[in-house]
């Protein structure tokens, strides 16, 4: 499990196995690195993500729909994503 500093009441209260602060990175650069990081997890494990790019608000739900990963919690700029089972 990974500790991750966050504001009270945010996604940090939910457990995660990895964390990544993507800073201001957005669009394809963010998604490609996120893909690699999710691939490093096992099915059911969660990544806590901080993505400050304003596009992430719409992109994170869309990316999860496309890839099958589960968006457990979204409270921009914090996101909690659960790795999918292998297809």
């Amino acid at each position: 499990m990974t500790d991750f500093p966050a504001a009270p009441g945010c996604a940090a209260e939910l457990s995660s196995h990895a964390a990544w602060d993507a800073g201001d990175t957005g669009c394809g650069e963010l998604l490609l690195e996120l893909r690699f990081r999710m691939a490093a997890l096992r099915a059911g494990e969660r990544l806590r993500l901080v993505a400050r790019d304003p596009g992430a608000i719409e992109d994170m739900p869309a990316w999860c729909r496309l890839t099958g990963h589960k968006l457990i919690h979204a409270d921009h700029p914090q996101y909690l994503i659960e790795r999918r089972s292998e297809p």
Binding site: C27, G28, E29, L31, L32, W63, L66, T67
Partner: protein, 120 residues
């Protein structure tokens, strides 16, 4: 929903902004588990030559060389238009890693099997 995605790019240093954004979008597609193709034609073929993109770095984006390398590393394909390449006298032995010089049939084949395409 299509499993494929194509990005058509016709610019190089004559519009580094477009060249960069095309690969950013291509990276978004490949990161979203799409079989992704970047088709380089007309001036865009210059990006298919090793070293050409090394000094392209648009503000607010990663260097283009890095975007291209990450795209290929993630499984993306780059097709380089053969007649466009030859017309410019470029060296087919110095094509960037992951790129293939192709004729139109390869593009037609990829798109005909069902793929959206965005053009820059």
């Amino acid at each position: 929903m299509s499993k494929r995605f194509c990005v058509s790019l016709t610019y190089a240093k004559n519009d580094p902004d477009k060249a960069t954004v095309a690969f950013v979008v291509a990276n978004a597609a490949v990161a979203s588990d799409k079989e992704t193709l970047v088709f380089l034609s007309t001036e865009g073929v210059r990006l298919g030559v090793k070293g050409y993109a090394d000094d392209i770095h648009e503000q607010g984006f990663a260097p283009l060389r890095e975007l291209m390398a990450n795209f290929v590393k993630a499984g993306g394909k780059i097709f380089v238009c053969s007649p466009c390449f030859k017309k410019r006298g470029l060296d087919e032995t110095k094509v960037v890693d992951g790129a293939v010089v192709v004729g139109g049939a390869k593009l037609v084949e990829f798109l005909s099997e069902g793929s959206p395409c965005v053009s820059y």
